[in-house]
């Protein structure tokens, strides 16, 4: 029987990723596996199966303070994509939650900085995280306008 080479085990030991990236990959925050009964105030989906990364983000927003109270997600992609979305969701909801105005200004650089860095070839993963939350916010704002229109 061929001897198993421990270096090939998928435990992340030899990955060239920061400890924070590994932590968010192995212990993702705010992951939503079953959205069938989850009622969100805004939903954003970005990416395409053709290029391999797809991210869906669901947000709940406090209508009075306009702070993001929940940010759930599901990502089809690599470790960097998963870690980026997990970190993005943490940044959006920590300390009581970002206001929508601040969340709109969340940049890939801020996400990568919190992750302790990503290889340049994985930069696009944090771009998707940034776009996903922008889309979710845009969806929320469109829903708001539509709901106000229906009331009047």
């Amino acid at each position: 029987m061929k001897k198993v080479d421990n270096k090939n085990l998928c435990d992340g030991e030899n990955w060239l990723y920061s400890p924070v990236v590994k932590d968010h990959f192995f212990h993702p925050r705010n992951l939503l596996l079953d959205d069938a009964n989850y009622i969100a105030d805004g939903i954003g989906v970005v990416g395409s199966p053709a290029c391999g990364d797809v991210m869906a983000v669901w947000i709940k927003v406090d209508p009075k303070t306009k702070q993001i109270t929940e940010c759930k997600w599901r990502t089809f992609g690599c470790a960097s994509a998963i870690a980026s979305t997990s970190m993005m969701s943490l940044m959006a909801t920590e300390h009581g939650g970002m206001t929508l105005a601040k969340a709109k200004r969340m940049t890939p650089e801020a996400i990568i900085d919190r992750l302790g860095g990503l290889p340049d070839r994985k930069y696009h993963c944090s771009v998707l995280g940034h776009l996903a939350i922008r889309e979710a916010i845009e969806d929320y704002e469109k829903n708001l306008i539509r709901d106000v229109g229906q009331e009047t």
């Binding site: 395409s48 200004r105 340049d120």
Partner: protein
């Protein structure tokens, strides 16, 4: 045509530098789609192996009759675009993107930090802001490897002479013997701090390659610029 694609027709081509072209385009009916300065379109070449297409920033302002994309010939897509001529068609998306100052404070000073072809969306933003909000202060810091790659320089110089609220600083990193007024070093936050004091009335936008954006973002944060006052758009392949 793929869903989400529109057909644009090249109406005019301007060579800004030996390997940088501006293509002025309209939709097939002669109109241009609505867009906000700073946005981009995604170009598709269905016969390439890249089904998701590649993004190119719009370098013209929304009030113009045609819209333009400015491209540096680096890879397959950009070389094909730079080889186009009036009458050719381009399959591309409608404008999209969030790298705009649409929701910024009109009374803030806009600091635009560009490296290389990253200046493209800033030309759109500068033209648009001068037209819509001429009282807003804008300061463009524009870095390039060579003098020849400093595209739109004549236009920016003319705008600076004509509009007291617009200033531009040029940086060239890989050439010596530069004309007066061109700074020969890499752009740093010291160059910004010589002209401006960090405050909540300063909004920064950074556009260039990944390493440029990362370095400037960190540097801006280190001198106290809040995260939500820095917008970034990186150009990468």
């Amino acid at each position: 045509m793929k869903q989400g694609m529109s057909e644009y027709i090249v109406r005019e081509k301007i060579m800004e530098a030996p390997n940088i072209a501006t293509l002025k385009v309209t939709l097939a009916d002669g109109t241009i789609p609505h867009f906000v300065s700073g946005q981009f379109v995604t170009v598709y070449f269905p016969d390439s192996g890249t089904p998701e297409g590649k993004a190119y920033s719009i370098s013209s302002a929304p009030h113009e009759e045609m819209f333009s994309i400015t491209i540096k010939a680096i890879g397959e897509f950009s070389n094909r675009l730079c080889a186009m001529h009036p009458g050719d068609t381009i399959a591309a998306s409608l404008p999209y993107g969030y790298f705009t100052n649409e929701e910024g404070d009109e009374k803030s000073t806009l600091i635009l930090l560009a490296a290389g072809i990253g200046v493209a969306p800033f030309r759109s933003i500068v033209r648009d802001t001068i037209k819509k909000n001429p009282a807003q202060k804008i300061s463009l810091f524009y870095s390039s490897k060579t003098l020849a790659d400093l595209i739109f320089k004549e236009e920016f110089d003319a705008l600076q002479r004509k509009h007291p609220n617009f200033t531009v600083s040029y940086f060239v990193t890989r050439e010596d013997d530069l004309p007066v007024g061109i700074i020969h070093h890499r752009m740093t936050t010291n160059d910004i701090l010589k002209k401006f004091t960090i405050s909540k009335n300063l909004e920064c936008m950074v556009c260039g390659r990944i390493s440029f954006n990362r370095d400037l973002w960190r540097a801006l944060r280190s001198v106290g610029v809040p995260e939500d006052l820095i917008a970034t758009e990186a150009f990468f392949s």
